[in-house]
Subunit: 250 residues, 8 copies
Amino acid sequence: MEIQELLEQVKAGTLSIEEAKQYLRKEPFEELGYAKLDTHRKLRTGHAEVIYCEGKSTEHFLEIFTHLYRENGEVFGTRASKEQYLAAKERFPQTVYDETSRIIRIEKNDKPHMGKIVVCSAGTADIFVAEEAALTAEYFGNYVERIYDIGVCGIHRMLANLDAIQSANCIVAVAGMEGALASVLGGLVDKPVIAVPTSVGYGASFHGVSALLTMINSCANGVAVVNIDNGYGAGYMASQINRLVGEQHE
Amino acid sequence: MEIQELLEQVKAGTLSIEEAKQYLRKEPFEELGYAKLDTHRKLRTGHAEVIYCEGKSTEHFLEIFTHLYRENGEVFGTRASKEQYLAAKERFPQTVYDETSRIIRIEKNDKPHMGKIVVCSAGTADIFVAEEAALTAEYFGNYVERIYDIGVCGIHRMLANLDAIQSANCIVAVAGMEGALASVLGGLVDKPVIAVPTSVGYGASFHGVSALLTMINSCANGVAVVNIDNGYGAGYMASQINRLVGEQHE
Amino acid sequence: MEIQELLEQVKAGTLSIEEAKQYLRKEPFEELGYAKLDTHRKLRTGHAEVIYCEGKSTEHFLEIFTHLYRENGEVFGTRASKEQYLAAKERFPQTVYDETSRIIRIEKNDKPHMGKIVVCSAGTADIFVAEEAALTAEYFGNYVERIYDIGVCGIHRMLANLDAIQSANCIVAVAGMEGALASVLGGLVDKPVIAVPTSVGYGASFHGVSALLTMINSCANGVAVVNIDNGYGAGYMASQINRLVGEQHE
Amino acid sequence: MEIQELLEQVKAGTLSIEEAKQYLRKEPFEELGYAKLDTHRKLRTGHAEVIYCEGKSTEHFLEIFTHLYRENGEVFGTRASKEQYLAAKERFPQTVYDETSRIIRIEKNDKPHMGKIVVCSAGTADIFVAEEAALTAEYFGNYVERIYDIGVCGIHRMLANLDAIQSANCIVAVAGMEGALASVLGGLVDKPVIAVPTSVGYGASFHGVSALLTMINSCANGVAVVNIDNGYGAGYMASQINRLVGEQHE
Amino acid sequence: MEIQELLEQVKAGTLSIEEAKQYLRKEPFEELGYAKLDTHRKLRTGHAEVIYCEGKSTEHFLEIFTHLYRENGEVFGTRASKEQYLAAKERFPQTVYDETSRIIRIEKNDKPHMGKIVVCSAGTADIFVAEEAALTAEYFGNYVERIYDIGVCGIHRMLANLDAIQSANCIVAVAGMEGALASVLGGLVDKPVIAVPTSVGYGASFHGVSALLTMINSCANGVAVVNIDNGYGAGYMASQINRLVGEQHE
Amino acid sequence: MEIQELLEQVKAGTLSIEEAKQYLRKEPFEELGYAKLDTHRKLRTGHAEVIYCEGKSTEHFLEIFTHLYRENGEVFGTRASKEQYLAAKERFPQTVYDETSRIIRIEKNDKPHMGKIVVCSAGTADIFVAEEAALTAEYFGNYVERIYDIGVCGIHRMLANLDAIQSANCIVAVAGMEGALASVLGGLVDKPVIAVPTSVGYGASFHGVSALLTMINSCANGVAVVNIDNGYGAGYMASQINRLVGEQHE
Amino acid sequence: MEIQELLEQVKAGTLSIEEAKQYLRKEPFEELGYAKLDTHRKLRTGHAEVIYCEGKSTEHFLEIFTHLYRENGEVFGTRASKEQYLAAKERFPQTVYDETSRIIRIEKNDKPHMGKIVVCSAGTADIFVAEEAALTAEYFGNYVERIYDIGVCGIHRMLANLDAIQSANCIVAVAGMEGALASVLGGLVDKPVIAVPTSVGYGASFHGVSALLTMINSCANGVAVVNIDNGYGAGYMASQINRLVGEQHE
Amino acid sequence: MEIQELLEQVKAGTLSIEEAKQYLRKEPFEELGYAKLDTHRKLRTGHAEVIYCEGKSTEHFLEIFTHLYRENGEVFGTRASKEQYLAAKERFPQTVYDETSRIIRIEKNDKPHMGKIVVCSAGTADIFVAEEAALTAEYFGNYVERIYDIGVCGIHRMLANLDAIQSANCIVAVAGMEGALASVLGGLVDKPVIAVPTSVGYGASFHGVSALLTMINSCANGVAVVNIDNGYGAGYMASQINRLVGEQHE
């Protein structure tokens, strides 16, 4: 341990105070930085980094996939291509690929799933994002209930599922086009709603901008928004919120 | 009457066919133009032009106001200032001014109001636009029911008024911020919904752009949109639609 | 029938009032929701849901297509691919596909077409959207007249068709580029104009944004706008308006 | 109680099953709607509605303020003007007004404050929004720690406060200009970060759009965003998250 | 001739004045419209319509191409594909295709070219638009001088060609990226400058928006702008201006 | 004259060729620059610079105004304030100020006005820009005819003035809101149309952007666009075009 | 000095190694942070922080102004109001205020000014930003030459000043409207050009966006851009660049 | 040499002063232009023009490549395709192609590399731009250190490399998504930071606009920005800055 050594050498007189000062001025960043935060991440989440597969060459992807799997006994990647999946499957036949969400993973079987997150989608076309959120939250150890195709142009479908929605610790609301789902949900529940605009739509939906603006301007309290199509980000944040319920209050 | 005269002169031989042709090539536009359409407008709607008061000097406004009132026995202006109102009131004490919608008018008392238009607003802040729509539709002889403050973040308020909404021939949906009202209404009724985005909101509402995009991207069928804060336009179009019900089918 | 049973059991004393209250608090949403509105839709329009084909897998598409056709004896889909058409044709040889509008359908032969809707296009390049509007309105039982290629840069072409346009209950105005068609039409008719901006154009047309803004800012009264390229939405709303003429006034 | 009565009358035979069915089809919305959700809101949060003061006339404001204070023994308003404050103070001398955040309130003294929320601001100019978030969260019964002026162009200031930040259940990150605070914080903590872009800046900050985009595109996990300058929304959502810690896990 | 006949019948008494009035109210539009303007176009320009080839099927294109060629002895099309060219060439071996500008044409050999238009481009990448402008202007009978690659980041290249530029009746300035060419030229000549922004560039050039804004905001007098990549429009307008020089002053 | 002197000294041998080369490498810019172009401007236009008054202090304005008047015997300023006018009037009682266009000027009485420019406006609200164009063109010696309030929502008004419009050498089309005037005019005339979008409108007109886009995307040939509200720029360019008619063809 | 003390105590045995480790893990950030960087800043620039005066209350401003002046013997503030100036002047009569740039300062008289920075402006309206850049650079000890009103619509004015411009180590190019100055300069010099878009202009200049895009898309090499109207930022960066010339090469 | 000859002829009397004046009025531009600046460029940078390969045909590319290589003994191209590379390699086997940055080059081996530029990237996905910057700067004779993947969501990685970063004369900061890297770096160094937004990201990153806005709004001093993905531009400007250190101070 470096600081330990340094201080011991100062105490023993084998390192001058000037030299120690010079060293300390730079070192703590490095020490804090890489080492401390990395350990921190493992300690608090119980799993390693997630792979953002898009744009990675198959070899590069496979190398990281293998490395993370060997280290953690499980591995999770978003926006994977079919080609990446086939490469992974060849090496690890237990690899699972979800074509809808494009998530690739090897997941431990015995993982407990705590609390409850509800992932809602406005339409069936939004499910590719909703599944990214749901599978992410499940991978991070949360219990997830999916309620899809409850868009606001048929409000009765949402109302029919109100009990299930209201029982969650956190709701993920996934919607494209006009993206009004989050506002309506926000007015019906007393738990945080993570809104995910999707690129579903055409014309003046501007690849998700319309839904994004709707959600950011929500008149309902308790709605916050992540990037367009960012199911992973919503699943991750929902996990952070849901897991708070299981922690001790300080 | 000019065309009458021309034809009579042709018949009488006092105008050559060549001269008549020359004349007809240009004239009908003018004749059609100003005269014909104006008369047409009166015949079909029963009232004259409406005054867009904004930006008009008080003298200019008063002159038009007086002219139209004298011609039609009633007069209607949008976006009037208080100063314009005081000037009109001095001359015509029966002038009525609505501070919320900034509509100024002298209206005949015995006008029948046909059919039914429902004007809904999402919030109380949108009422200045909703009232412009409602008063416009009333001025054009429609029966109007107002249902305000039924925004989607409290969906129960809308549901509680569903019967009234569903009984209209046409619904005007006025909303700012995320503007989701039109979509939800569109899914609950089988009549045309005229959506009016308002400039109500702040930040990423961009003075009504967010609501406009939401409404244009509505996943519900039967929703069409007018300009931001354009209550007059919505009231006018709703009137056109509502009055179809009373007309004969060809 | 569920509510019937519940009330009968309450009357018979086999269900306590407390239990019935508990049940009613949740159920009506579900009952209202799915069941009621669906039936309602059938009752009022005489046809089932329409398929938005884009992005659906051929199998998924074919399943819905078959289901809806079997239930209603006719079926209608927008934005269908040629591959989807071939799959449908193989199973139902009577399937009709319009390459211009990409509409796929099996339509009953003896359907009456009421009232009159005029669908106008500014240019020939806009016809793919205009046909989507026209075929939609026809499928919903309206009589449709098409008047294409009457853009404002040759205003005489529009004026030459004025009689036909003025005889409609509702006009659909389809235009890309600068999209001025709707404004000019709005000034020439006294019926509602549904404006459809199209993505036709290049450069600063921004895939339809220019036409959308033009139409939203129309100086003519009685113009409302749907999404870029949304011929279906315009045809649907025009149908709602046109059908009002045939309904009884309450 | 209405449903109780209805069922009793069905049981007693004074109301036919048909009549009861007719009634139930409509009523539950109203019952659910207004009544149920309102009660629900009180039960779960312990306080009534908040007043959005902007744009309300002083009389209107004062009426609502008085009504809510009388009902709940405390009252809270955002974006209040000085004039509104003076009117409230005249009637209720215990009214408190914070000039920075423009929050007006009468707050119970003995309210417990649970958990821990940290509200950070990038600069001193963002404090007007940060204080809106902090005072909101405090009003809703949360313990709040403020850490201001730790913007990313002096990253050492943030690092110096890392211990305090990492001890929160939820972090509110308030920043204008380039809005990078949320990303950097998101990478340093394992708790949800609610990002609030502010309108602070000039030129290409576009009144907060730059900060909004930065936050929405955050490369850090666990960041979600509310509207520009929406301190209230962030405080409300942080409260929802923080309070989860104190609730029972189902 | 219709009006002739009508008037003769009025004169002869075989058509009543009432009937003639009814007829005249509608007819002149049609007569004016199609017939008059078409003839007008031919009379004033000496050539028929131009084909905008993009998006037209090869058969459709070929039909129009053949029709116009047969009628006028020459034909001109913009944005033609190679496939369209090959189809035209097979039927008319004298067809000429310019790969850079994608202009297809059969042009009369003995056409005089009057006045002088200078077409400038900022870079070599802008030449595809500049050639569209130049060939268009030549087809319409103007003498054109091309001066390419004189962008403002090497201002000496423009200055070296100043004499040639200043001798034109009209200058077409074609530029992408920052599009500053038009402003600099506008300050150096006393003739109208038609500015054409191009889609050349990347990143924040936004496919020509940057150049468009630059040109619209030109601090130089005498600069007006056409759409992004609209070489044809610039060539057409330059032709209108240049040809004024040869006309008689009224 | 400097170059004269330099060459004379070289000839006389009082300046070495090396020194002369050194001098010539730099000087011509200066010589060309300030001096030559200024003279050029006077020679070709017959009048001096125009003052853009906005943002100039009254003293600064008055100094320039006086200087230009003394040099040229006339002077012309755009966007002048009333305060600037009063200052100018005190010194030069013959100063004329037009409140609508905010143009200030002292103009020679005996100036001939050549050719013909027609300035059209869509509405009465656009006249402040149309007058800037008209007065500018008149100041530069052109004959101008004004045709106002002929917007496309009443197309008959434009048609009624067609003869006058078609007789111009150049048309200036001034319109706000949806800005369709230029396209319709462009289809009816064979002379260049300079389109001026105005900031007239509200909501999605975005202070003139809607009209600007409409005009830039005009489907009519022969339309080019200047900046929003830039009446001066349109008047200047129209003058350049109109004056070509009076020049000799080279 | 804290680290010194800590190490001395470790050496002396009065602080245990464990305690020292605990302290060092947190402290260095603080120590590095506030203290070290501040000292660092002083060491390298020879002057303290600059005050961004906008939005600061007069008392708050005066406190900071006084504090910084007392510490450094000079003080510099941007975007100061006249009221702030009067307050400062009352306390420190030697305070200087520049109305154009709104810079307030007390500056040491004997400061050397090294190297050479040229600050150019396109028009006289841009000088308020150019002066902010120039005065900033001078305050930071650079020699500055101002060359104003050399916009590209009169390119000769720029060429006439080429020698002066080419002799600088760094050029600041300040321009609004179309902002082409930076590109033209970038093509004429071989030194870095810092481009500052200004909000000068109207209509489609969008308060500086047009100039910003022009500059970002510059076809010339060696141009980088700061925020709209950010003269201070440009002056600061130019200072960093210019001062490199005086430093030792490693 | 032309001017030499001209002056000699004037001296010898074989050219009249009038003729010489006529000649000088035009010629110097050409002479200055092409010749002088070209020579200048060579003299000051030691290398010829760089090829922007995108959009160039392979033959055209190869011709320029060969020409520049033969003239300078080295050659450098950006955005080259693999096909262009293969063509170049066939002729010049020593051609080097970097697939990441798409830079093609033949570089002299013995080139000295002066000073120090640090090129940082936020993520691994940004390296394609960072390498373009780094290779450009190296080609222009600068010593470059690469520090990649130090994005702000893991701030410790940046802090760990602070010494290396702080030792540069100029820093290039390359980042997509939220682009906060430049601001954080700007606060940690006292040297100019050239910020390069990249198109890396999705959704509301708008192909680099989000990062561009972040960087333009940087709260840190000493940050200026180039176009999205413009690694070449950043490398060029960094070279200009770094090379100042080695120049003499005037």
